[in-house]
Symmetry: C2
Subunit: 172 residues, 2 copies
Amino acid sequence: MSEEAISERASAASAVAAPPRTTQTTPHGEAWGALTRTHAAVTQRLQEALAQGDYPPLPWYEVLSTVAEAPEQRMRMGDLAEVLVITRGGLTKLVDRLVKAGLIERTFCESDRRVSYATLLPAGRDLLAEMRPVVVGELEVAFSANLSEAEAGRLTETLDRVRGSACEIGSA
Amino acid sequence: MSEEAISERASAASAVAAPPRTTQTTPHGEAWGALTRTHAAVTQRLQEALAQGDYPPLPWYEVLSTVAEAPEQRMRMGDLAEVLVITRGGLTKLVDRLVKAGLIERTFCESDRRVSYATLLPAGRDLLAEMRPVVVGELEVAFSANLSEAEAGRLTETLDRVRGSACEIGSA
DNA sequence: CAGAAAAGCTTGTAGTTACAACTATTGTCG
DNA sequence: CGACAATAGTTGTAACTACAAGCTTTTCTG
């Protein structure tokens, strides 16, 4: 212990072995509890790793990564918000920060002057190239270590199925 | 359109059918993307349902629910923060709000005067009883509809395995 | 073609969260 | 026993996010 910090987070000692006493005690309730805790734990791990390398926070990475894989390295704000599952208002300000940092540029559509694109700049591409190994590395530790590729595939399929039913607007 | 609102959130129309083009394109990367999006989608659904019934937000429910299942309907602040996977500082303020609402009481430990407990009050127990069906109902829609209990069990097991490896402090 | 409705994005405001520093109590040694 | 470290919570500050209202452009309709 010397250059340690870890701010506070959680002691993370008994958390692993702690009995998964969740909200309810039904199989589905357990599954939701496991999903929540796993998401939180992995997210923490990723953000910690990024902070340790003096990189921007995780949302920045997700924007850069998503835009980088889009057709022309650009995406409509609305689509981006939808993929990242955040509000449009939130995305506007998030992209503002990326623009101010010189990683993203706002471009506009000729045919429809309402839409604006978030377009990746070279600096953003470079930063992404630096951040990706960090994120992928942490994910390897979290996933690859204990999950075969086949299991990962099944997990993805199952989760997507849940998401599918969760997205059906229950307005009726 | 009359008493509608839904603020903004996401259009949630093409989100379901959208190709899961995630961060990377490895099976594990896909799994992480699916986990993130599913968590966000279900959380949104739950919060929307709670807001619609004029109930407090989801974090309140999680505190009440967790404390209610603890031995003496009380929990040490630190343990509670660990289970909920939020920071201690954040929990202090979250519990402050619950105390102000008369749902939780702070009690203290005789043998160790540092620790304080979050103790469930009758009003908290009653509110929990009201909120639980709402939350459970939404989870049923999200999970039960498309997942057998056996699948839910496998999902829980898999997620817990991932969480386990994610929690191992990578200090070494 | 004018007016209303819808779509796309931004901005103002408030609430929530994390991070870091601080206080108080307990445990450890010299 | 007295100083140092570790543990448990709280608090101050800054950043992020959601919500709701607003603006502009496009589409629909009579």
